[in-house]
């Protein structure tokens, strides 16, 4: 088990959200879209060059900007 940010999680790998190091506003926004501490996510891709990260959460696919993805810490499986 190692902790990495969403940006550094390898594509097609799963993990659980262990920490969202953003402000309350960001945590609420992500929470309402189904992304919260303890939730399992699968990383689908990273566009590269500080581009967005695409993940699957439950049955939704979300795209997060690079800066936001850096703030989401994942406990990789």
């Amino acid at each position: 088990m190692k902790k990495v940010s969403l940006v550094h999680l390898k594509p097609n790998h799963k993990g659980r959200v262990s920490e969202i190091s953003g402000g309350l506003g960001l945590r609420h926004r992500l929470m309402s879209m189904g992304l919260y501490v303890g939730k399992e996510v699968t990383k689908l891709s990273y566009i590269g060059l500080r581009g967005p990260v695409v993940i699957r959460v439950g049955r939704s696919v979300l795209a997060l900007g690079h800066g936001m993805a850096m703030k989401i810490i994942i406990e990789a499986e």
Partner: protein
């Protein structure tokens, strides 16, 4: 007694389609979040009662996170709870995420009825939901619908009266998600399916390399289709109609008219080599209808057909992911590609849709970029129509210049304006294939909108210009601007008339350049200037409404500066 019905749901769950099924009011819905920024009203007639229905902007939760969500929440609280019914539209393929809002609505005591939409798609994807079990757990009516085909809508209307407040204890967020997990376990059964082509394409389009290849392919094919359909309509329908039906008719009608008379000048314009020339005569019955129906309308139809298809399939948010990177350098994020693409149809809806961007700074940058660097279909159709005659290189060159202008201007604005570009967080919808009837309806409303907006202005514009030309009233202005126009841009001084008309309508303006007999270089400069200088008056009014006077002035000054720099650069440096 229910006085009002509210439709609420996550973005992109087909809420607008449910709304138009309930009320008969047409709403343009698209397969990407954020189509409904303002709320829309309609009426549902059930028995002899007429109830107001309000379609709220898509929202993920009742705790306001964005302006759209704030609007939704404040509207819900306008009336007392026993006077309203809330229809919570749910995407059946993604029950888990949608249930957060449902639970919040029930906890807050709103009389709620759950509409499990897109039930056909859920079955296709192997998602089975036990509706009666869900009804039992939530204690509210749950109806499964497919709004696109209309299935279940009648039952939904019948059961609205069953909506009432139920008591359910309020949970903190984390607890609520756990509760949702327990509900899902009881009601949802996922059939394991192998990845099918649709899922493979969905995944491929969000990966960097395969996504980029797909994007290039999609854009290339779209462009080819737009041109193919547009050209086919022109060569098979409109041109034969104008040249074989309208022209002989007009010639017969005017055979005995005085060529130099005022009426002849207004209606027919100037004869070119003794004949009516639809592109150059500039009369109310000749060039005006030809520009609108013979040159622009075919491309309006083909452009909106392709754009609507891409929207409804759900491809555009995927394009947004790939472009996020590039757009960050311009102070925007990937989602800004949607207003920009809409702007290629007409700048007005493009600028209106900049509301999907969060900050004022982003909206300013996006609106300014759209009005300067994004040519609308009418302008593009005319540029391709006129410049295309000199070879594809020139028409393509205009696009290249505009693209560079967008990049340079965006980078400068991003550096110069205080603030930062916010991060991008969007949901990527699954691919959905729109039924052809919905697509046809959408196309119909967009084309109708274009005709209603464009035709009167084109006719009035050509009329006014013709009167001014007849009485030689433009001479004063042409004299005044001659140094700039001729000295700086290398254009004949008469071109100023076209540039001024461009403020009214771009297509008429390019049409006015035709009789001037410009060289390829001059036409290139004039067309580019028409694109980057002032947008047309309709766009201007929308800019004013959306940005306010101060930012409108700022934006206008940028337009003037950019026009002068680019015009002079093209004249003296690039096309020497």
């Amino acid at each position: 007694m229910i006085k009002k019905i509210y439709l609420i749901g996550n973005p992109n769950v087909g809420k607008s389609v449910v709304f138009s099924r309930l009320t008969g009011v047409h709403v343009v819905s698209s397969n990407y979040p954020g189509t409904t920024v303002e709320f829309i009203k309609g009426y549902l007639t059930s028995g002899n009662q007429k109830i107001e229905v309000i379609d709220l902007p898509g929202t993920y939760s009742l705790e306001p996170g964005s302006s759209a969500e704030e609007v939704a929440v404040s509207l819900l609280k306008e009336h007392s709870q026993d006077e309203i019914a809330v229809i919570n539209v749910i995407d059946s393929t993604n029950l888990e995420r949608n249930l957060l809002l449902t639970l919040q609505l029930v906890e807050e005591g709103f009389p709620t009825i759950a509409c499990m939409n897109m039930c056909d798609d859920a079955v296709h994807r192997g998602v089975h939901i036990d509706i009666s079990k869900l009804e039992e757990i939530l204690q509210i009516p749950v109806i499964s619908t497919c709004a696109v085909t209309g299935a279940g809508i009648k039952l939904l209307i019948d059961r609205i009266k069953e909506a009432r407040s139920v008591s359910r204890s309020k949970l903190p967020h984390e607890e609520r998600w756990k509760e949702i997990g327990r509900i899902i376990e009881q009601v949802q059964n996922l059939e394991h399916r192998h990845h099918r082509l649709r899922e493979l394409l969905e995944d491929a389009s969000v990966c960097p390399i395969s996504g980029l290849i797909m994007a290039v392919g999609v854009i290339y094919v779209s462009f080819k289709i737009v041109r193919f359909i547009g050209e086919s309509i022109i060569s098979r329908i409109t041109d034969p109609f104008f040249y074989e039906t309208v022209q002989p008719l007009l010639e017969k009608m005017t055979a005995h008219w005085q060529e130099k008379s005022f009426v002849f000048h207004l209606l027919i314009g100037d004869l070119i080599h003794g004949k009516i020339d639809f592109k150059q005569s500039l009369g109310l019955l000749t060039t005006a209808p030809y520009i609108e129906f013979g040159m622009v309308l075919p491309y309006v139809i083909s452009f909106y057909l392709v754009l609507s298809l891409l929207e409804d399939i759900g491809y555009l948010p995927r394009l947004a992911i790939l472009l996020d990177n590039l757009l960050h350098h311009l102070g925007l994020h990937g989602y800004a590609i949607i207003p920009v693409l809409l702007g290629f149809g007409c700048n007005v809806p493009g600028i209106l849709s900049t509301r999907v961007l969060e900050s004022k700074r982003e909206r300013f940058i996006a609106s300014t970029i759209i009005s300067i660097g994004v040519p609308c279909v009418p302008l593009q159709a005319m540029i391709v129509g006129l410049l295309g005659a000199f070879g594809g290189f020139y028409a393509g060159g205009v696009y290249l210049v505009l693209f560079c202008v967008i990049l340079i201007l965006g980078v400068i604005l991003n550096r110069a304006l205080p603030g930062y570009s916010p991060e991008f967080l969007i949901e990527i919808p699954p691919y959905r294939f729109p039924p052809l009837t919905m697509l046809a309806r959408k196309l119909y409303f967009r084309v109708k909108g274009f005709l209603f907006e464009a035709v009167p202005i084109v006719l009035i514009g050509v009329l006014v210009v013709n009167i001014l030309l007849y009485f030689k009233l433009f001479d004063v202005v042409t004299g005044l601007f001659a140094p700039v126009i001729h000295g700086l841009f290398g254009l004949p001084k008469e071109a100023i008339v076209a540039l001024i008309v461009g403020f009214l309508r771009k297509d008429v303006a390019v049409g006015m350049l035709a009789p001037l007999g410009l060289s390829a270089k001059q036409l290139f400069i004039a067309a580019t200037l028409l694109a980057i200088s002032f947008p047309c008056i309709a766009t201007f009014i929308v800019l004013w409404k959306e940005l306010g006077v101060k930012d409108l002035i700022k934006s206008t000054l940028i337009m003037i500066t950019v026009s002068i720099i680019v015009g002079a650069m093209l004249n003296f440096v690039i096309l020497r």
